[in-house]
Symmetry: C2
Subunit: 190 residues, 2 copies
DNA sequence: TAAATAATCTAGCAGTGCTAATTTGTCAAT
DNA sequence: ATTGACAAATTAGCACTGCTAGATTATTTA
């Protein structure tokens, strides 16, 4: 009975092709260019097929975003070097976070700006959505009483820096100084 | 020759009606419901008339956003009480900023998320876009070496808090604690 | 009063997300 | 092998979007 398994496999491969196509087009031409028609053309199926994989366009963005959360979490974890001091670790994670945001603006937009249908802080929340937070919590913990609240605040600062710079509201040339400031703030030596 | 003046006046009144309509619809039904057709219907003119006032839809959003920047600046300035300590002023401005963001989510979205065609940090940048930053700089100055960079970072932290909470990424119940954390960070007593 | 200019509208283009109705393909039962 | 049932995929189209060319109406100038 390998036939039905093959069908399931082919189906999930097609789903992957949709997600890859969405990501590719978004990174090249922006999310406005990611239309159902274009995706259908890319995977060489008619448009309604996409709706047998995803409820609507937002969920396709959500699927790409989910990948992004997994990748960001891995990047942040990788930025935590055992040989570093607690302070250095905060700085490294902050730098890695912003590097990610600026290197993959379309992905970052999917993760944090666009409607995705992703649900946070629920019982069925995928692990990718928690892991990035966990990595940040790891480096914040040594400096915080309430780790969760401190991590939320740290995260918010990084997100704000990413968004304001992405929109041309703050000076790109001073990115390093701002990170230094946040690091000093977290470590309590201002 | 008051006729041409009346015409100019009527024209700018019509422009105001467009902006007011856009704002009203956005605050009630979201920006996706602000369409050229709906605005045209609202002001009782045909659609092309809107394009004699604004180049495109983004510029209408931008006009609303510009009002928002003026209002935010006024709110932040008003939050700075002469009788307060430097620390309290930081907290009051932070609280006022977030109150604004959560009380007027559509307006905040126009100001910081949607494409608006507004140009920051230019010679022709409208004063509204600078005044809010100025208000924040005022309360940050007593604690900072480099006021501009510190204000950018402070602003980013607030923006991040607003956005992450608006998207359900961080816990609304802990908003006050996060503000306290930021305030302590700025004032250097962690 | 006639011509020129300005203001406005009608009509329509090319595109969007999404879906009902139809066709095509695949399988099990006769 | 043929038929009927089910699944998979397609065609065609709806209601909407931002935007604009061309026609029409109103106003001003000569």
């Amino acid at each position: 009975m390998g036939i039905s398994e093959r069908k399931i496999r082919e189906r999930s491969e097609r789903e992957r092709r949709i997600i890859v196509a969405a990501r590719t087009i978004a990174e090249r031409d922006g999310w406005a260019s990611v239309t159902i028609r274009r995706l259908a053309e890319e995977i060489e199926y008619s448009q309604p097929v996409l709706y047998s994989h995803f409820e609507n366009r937002d969920q396709i963005v959500g699927a790409v975003a989910l990948e992004g959360f997994g990748e960001l979490a891995a990047i942040l974890r990788a930025a935590i070097r055992p040989s570093s001091t607690s302070k250095e670790r905060v700085e490294d994670v902050a730098t890695a976070y912003l590097d990610f945001a600026f290197a993959r603006p379309a992905m970052y937009e999917a993760m944090f700006v666009l409607p995705t249908g992703l649900r946070f802080a629920r019982s069925d929340t995928p692990p990718q959505l928690r892991e990035g937070f966990g990595a940040m919590a790891t480096v914040i913990a040594p400096f915080a009483q309430d780790v969760d609240t401190a991590t939320e605040t740290f995260w918010a600062a990084l997100h704000g820096l990413a968004e304001l710079e992405r929109h041309g509201r703050i000076r790109p040339a001073f990115r390093a100084q701002r990170i230094t400031l946040i690091m000093r703030m977290v470590s309590g030596e201002l």
